[in-house]
C-alpha cells in the first residue's frame, strides 16, 4: 500500500537518511524501530509531506507520488498522529476532528449535527466511546489519542502513522489502544507503529523495519526474530575513539546520595549514589524520567518524594539556587530555552551566576575582574568567538555549549549534571567537551551525565543507571556497560514498585 524506496535526506551538509526502504501492506501493523536519532521521525515527516526527500520515491498503491505539503499527504490517504498532539485543548472532540474542515449548513453556519453524527460513526468504527461535549484537555491521554486517530480517519486515511503512541499511556490504556489498532487492521488499514518498547512490538506488530544512524538495516517478520537480534540490529557494531580514557580506579567515597526519589505518586521509587571523581551515566529512552530525576534533586521538578544527602548531610533544595550554594550545578538539555540568555553577551552569560566572585565594595561588580575571569574561562574551554562581548546567538551550537560549561567551571561546584551535553554539536566540539568533562572529574569532582546517545553513555560513564518508566531499572558497571545490556534494560526492564 505504501512503498518507500531509497529515501535520502540532508539538512545542509548533514545527511540524516542514507537511502531507506519501507514497504507497508494494507491490514498490517508495521513497526519502525531504531535508537533516538536513527531517523524514524525524519522519515515519518517525509511520509506526511512535512519534509521533502532529497532523493528517493514514495509510492501509494503502486503510484508514484510527491507530497508538496501536509495536505497533499492527507489527500493521498496518509494520516499521522505525532508524539505531541495537535489538538486544541479548549475545543471538544468533534470540533477538533473537523477543525478547518467544518461542515456547514446552506446558510454558512456550522452544521453541528452532521459533524457530531460523523464523529460518532468514526469513533464507533474504532469501538470507543468518548464524551463529545467536554474540552479535550479534560480527556485522558489515551482518549486524546483516539480523537487524533479519529481525526485522521475522518480524512479518509488508509495509512496511519502512530509516532510513539504508548510513551505516555498506562498499561490498561495501551491494551485499549491495541484493541483499536487490531480493529483497524481488520478493516484493512495500514499502520506504521513507532515504539521503543520491544514487548509491545512483539505483541501487536506483524513486521519490523529497523533503522540505524539514518540507514536501512533490515525488514523482517516479527515471528522470525527475537529481542536479542533486534537490539543487535538497532545498536550495530560501532567504533568510537573520541572518548578520553576512563580512570582505572574510582574511590568509594560518596558525594551525593539520592536515597529515594519518586517522580509521580504511585510511580517507581529509585535511589542512586554518586562517587567522588566519577561520571555516572543516566541512560534510557526519552521520557523515561532521567531529566526529571535530576531536576527533582535540585527542586526544579515537583517530585512526589525526593531525599538527597550531600557529603552525608541531608539536604532539601527548593530551587536550583540552593543546589548551587552546595556546589551542584545543572547544564540543561535545551541550551536555548533553559541554558542561555540569548540576548546576553558571552561575558554576561558566563558570569550570570558568578557575581559572588568579583565584587567590589560588597555591592558592586568589579568589571575588570569580571572581564579577566571571563577571558580565562573562555580560553580554558576554547570558545571560538569574536570576543567576550559577542552576542551568544552568533555562536555555533558547540561554542554555545562551551559557554554554558565555562559558566559552571568558573564556579565552585563539585557536582555537575550534564543533560544531553553534546546534542546538536559537531564531532570536533564533542571530543573537546568530553575532554573537559574528564578534566573536571580528574580534579576530584563528579558528573551525572544524562544522554540519549548510547555510544556516549558507554564511552564516558564509569557506571550507568538505566531508566525506564520513571525509575531506575538497573545500574551497570564495568564490562556490563555495553549497548546490548543497556538497551535490553531500557526497553524491557521492569521497574520495581517499592511504594
Amino acid at each position: 500500500m505504501l512503498e518507500l524506496n531509497g529515501i535520502k535526506k540532508s539538512f545542509g551538509p548533514v545527511q540524516v537518511l542514507h537511502g531507506v526502504d519501507l514497504t507497508v501492506r494494507g491490514g498490517e501493523v508495521h513497526a519502525l524501530l531504531g535508537e533516538n536519532g536513527a531517523g524514524k521521525s525524519t522519515l515519518m515527516k517525509i511520509v506526511s509531506g512535512i519534509l521533502q526527500p532529497s532523493e528517493g520515491t514514495i509510492r501509494v498503491d503502486g503510484q508514484e507520488r510527491t507530497f508538496a505539503d501536509y495536505d497533499a499527504a492527507i489527500e493521498a490517504g496518509i494520516g499521522i498522529v505525532f508524539q505531541e498532539f495537535s489538538l486544541i485543548p479548549y475545543l471538544n472532540a468533534v470540533d477538533n476532528m473537523f477543525l478547518a474542515r467544518e461542515k456547514r449548513t446552506r446558510l454558512g453556519l456550522l452544521n453541528r449535527r452532521a459533524m457530531r453524527e460523523r464523529a460518532r460513526m468514526i469513533l464507533g468504527r474504532l469501538g470507543v466511546t468518548i464524551p463529545l461535549d467536554v474540552p479535550v484537555a479534560r480527556l485522558s491521554v489515551a482518549e486524546q489519542q483516539f480523537v487524533e486517530i479519529a481525526k485522521a480517519l475522518s480524512l479518509e486515511a488508509r495509512i496511519l502513522v502512530l509516532d510513539e503512541p504508548t510513551a505516555t499511556l498506562t498499561p490498561d490504556e495501551v491494551e485499549h489502544l491495541f484493541t483499536v489498532m487490531r480493529e483497524l487492521r481488520r478493516q484493512g488499514v495500514a499502520i506504521v507503529f513507532i515504539s521503543h518498547h520491544l514487548e509491545e512490538i512483539f505483541e501487536i506488530c506483524d513486521r519490523i523495519t529497523v533503522l540505524r544512524d539514518g540507514s536501512f538495516v533490515a525488514t523482517c517478520a516479527v515471528a522470525d526474530t527475537d529481542t536479542d537480534r533486534l537490539v543487535e540490529m538497532m545498536v550495530g557494531r560501532r567504533i568510537e575513539n573520541s572518548f578520553p580514557p576512563k580512570p582505572a580506579h574510582i574511590p568509594a567515597e560518596i558525594v551525593l546520595d539520592c536515597e529515594e526519589v519518586q517522580l509521580r505518586k504511585n510511580g517507581p521509587v529509585s535511589s542512586f549514589q554518586l562517587r567522588k571523581g566519577e561520571i555516572l551515566g543516566f541512560a534510557g529512552l526519552v521520557g523515561s524520567g532521567r531529566t526529571e530525576t535530576a531536576l527533582a534533586m535540585l527542586g526544579a521538578f515537583p517530585a512526589a518524594r525526593c531525599r538527597v544527602r550531600v557529603d552525608g548531610q541531608e539536604m532539601r533544595f527548593r530551587e536550583p539556587a540552593d543546589g548551587l550554594a552546595h556546589g551542584i550545578g545543572l547544564l540543561p538539555e535545551s541550551r536555548k530555552e533553559q541554558g542561555l540568555i540569548t540576548s546576553f553577551s558571552i561575558l554576561q552569560n558566563i558570569s550570570l551566576n558568578n557575581y559572588g566572585k568579583y565584587r567590589r565594595n560588597h555591592w558592586f561588580i568589579d568589571l575588570k575582574a569580571e572581564r579577566a575571569a571571563t577571558a580565562d574561562a573562555m580560553r580554558n574551554v576554547r570558545v571560538k568567538a569574536q570576543g567576550p562581548d559577542a552576542r551568544i546567538d552568533t555562536l555555533s551550537g558547540g561554542n554555545q555549549q562551551k559557554v554554558v560549561i565555562a559558566r559552571w567551571l568558573n564556579h565552585q561546584t563539585k557536582v555537575l549534571i550534564f543533560d544531553e551535553p553534546t546534542r546538536g554539536i559537531d564531532v570536533g566540539a564533542k571530543a573537546e567537551i568530553y575532554a573537559l568533562m574528564r578534566q573536571y572529574t580528574a580534579q576530584g569532582h563528579s558528573i551525572i551525565m544524562i544522554s540519549s546517545e548510547l555510544p556516549e553513555v558507554i564511552g564516558m560513564s564509569d557506571r550507568v543507571c538505566v531508566f525506564k518508566g520513571g525509575g531506575i531499572v538497573a545500574t551497570v558497571e564495568g564490562g556490563h556497560i555495553n549497548s546490548e545490556d543497556i538497551m535490553t534494560h531500557a526497553t524491557t526492564g521492569r521497574t520495581q514498585n517499592v511504594a
Binding site: 550545578g329 545543572l330 540568555i341 565584587r359 561588580i365 570576543g387
Partner: protein
C-alpha cells in the same frame, strides 16, 4: 582577545547608531528642533527647566516601571500608589498632627508595602503581573478615597513645598531628585549582580532560574522598587500641590509605560536601558509642553501623542 575588546570599545559612529539609545535620541532631537521652530520660547533656560520639572514625576515613576518591564512584568498600580502615599502622608501630618518627616516616612512605607504586596503575588503567587497590579491599582485608589472622603487634605507644614517647587541655584529640586533617582537606577542595573539578574529574568526566566538565580526574590525586589519610586514621586507631587490628593495621578501609569517603551525597552523584557527611559520621559514632556505652547486643543493633544507613540514603536520594530 583583549586586543579585540579594546578595538570594540573605541568610539565608533556605527556602534553608536546600533546602540538602543540611538532611536530615542534621534526622536528627542527631532522633536526638540521642531518645537524650537514652532515656539521662540522653547529653548530658553527657564522653559527647559520648566519642562524637566513637569516631567520629573512621570520620569521617576518610569524608573520603577523600567525595572519591572525589564523582568517581563508590568506595574499598573504606580499612579494609584503615588496618590495613596501622598494622601496618607498628608493625613498623618494634618489629622494626627505628626511631624512632617514622620508623614514622609509613612508615605514611603505605603510605597514599599504595596510594592512588596505586588511582588509577592507575582513571584510566589504566580499570578500574572497585569492582573495583580490592576487589582492593586483599584485597592490603592479606593483606600485613598475612603481615608480622605474624596477631598484633598491640605494644611501640611510649609517646608514640604520645597520638594515640589524649591530650587537649588537655578535648578528645581524635582529635577535634582529625578537625576539622583536615575543615577541610582543606572548603578543598580549596570554595576550590580542584581541588575544583571533583572535583565536575565526578562531574557530567559527559566534559564536564569536553572542557573541558580533567585528569580522570585529578584521579582519581589523590582516591584518593591516600583513602589519606592511611586512614593518618591508622591513626595514631589505633595510638595507641589501642598496637599494630599486622593485623585492625583490618574493615568500616570500609562505615561510611565509610554516613557519606558519610547526609551527603547522591550515590553517583553530583557532589553533596554534606564537612560532610554529618561529620554522617553523627556520626549513625552516636550510633546506636552510644545503642543501647549502651540495652543493646540488638549483633546487633540492626546490623539497626537497616541499617534506619535505608535509611529515610534513601529520604527523601533524595523530598527533591529
Amino acid at each position: 582577545m583583549s586586543h579585540d575588546a579594546t578595538v570594540e570599545r573605541r568610539f565608533d559612529a556605527r556602534r553608536l547608531l546600533h546602540s538602543p539609545l540611538a532611536l530615542p535620541l534621534i526622536g528627542l532631537i527631532v522633536v526638540s528642533v521642531l518645537m524650537g521652530f514652532a515656539s521662540d520660547n522653547f529653548f530658553s533656560v527657564s522653559n527647559i527647566f520648566n519642562v524637566l520639572r513637569q516631567v520629573s514625576i512621570v520620569a521617576i515613576l518610569a524608573v520603577g516601571m523600567t525595572f519591572v518591564i525589564l523582568t517581563g512584568g508590568i506595574d499598573l498600580s504606580v499612579g494609584a500608589v503615588m496618590a495613596l502615599a501622598g494622601t496618607i502622608a498628608a493625613g498623618l501630618m494634618v489629622n494626627f498632627g505628626m511631624p512632617g518627616w514622620v508623614g514622609l516616612l509613612a508615605g514611603l512605607g505605603v510605597g514599599v508595602v504595596l510594592g512588596v504586596f505586588n511582588g509577592f503575588l507575582v513571584a510566589w503567587g504566580r499570578m500574572p503581573a497585569i492582573i495583580v497590579t490592576l487589582a492593586t491599582m483599584g485597592i490603592a485608589r479606593g483606600l485613598g478615597l475612603i481615608y480622605s472622603g474624596g477631598y484633598p487634605i491640605s494644611g501640611i507644614p510649609s517646608w514640604i513645598s520645597w520638594f515640589g517647587v524649591g530650587r537649588i541655584g537655578i535648578v528645581p529640586v524635582p529635577v535634582i531628585a529625578m537625576v539622583i533617582v536615575y543615577a541610582l537606577a543606572w548603578v543598580l542595573l549596570q554595576r550590580t549582580a542584581f541588575g544583571r539578574h533583572v535583565y536575565a529574568i526578562g531574557g530567559n526566566e527559566l534559564a536564569a532560574k536553572l542557573s541558580g538565580v533567585k528569580t522570585q526574590r529578584v521579582k519581589l525586589a523590582v516591584y518593591a522598587i516600583s513602589g519606592v519610586t511611586a512614593a518618591i514621586a508622591a513626595l514631589i507631587l505633595t510638595g507641589r500641590l501642598m496637599s494630599g490628593q486622593p485623585n492625583a495621578g490618574v493615568g500616570f501609569e500609562l505615561d510611565a509605560i509610554a516613557a519606558v517603551v519610547l526609551g527603547g525597552t522591550a515590553i517583553a523584557g530583557g532589553r533596554g536601558l534606564i537612560l532610554g527611559t529618561l529620554i522617553g520621559a523627556i520626549l513625552l514632556g516636550i510633546l506636552n509642553n510644545g503642543l501647549n505652547l502651540m495652543g493646540i486643543n488638549p483633546y487633540m493633544q492626546d490623539v497626537i501623542k497616541g499617534l506619535i507613540i505608535l509611529l515610534a514603536i513601529y520604527i523601533g520594530r524595523e530598527w533591529r
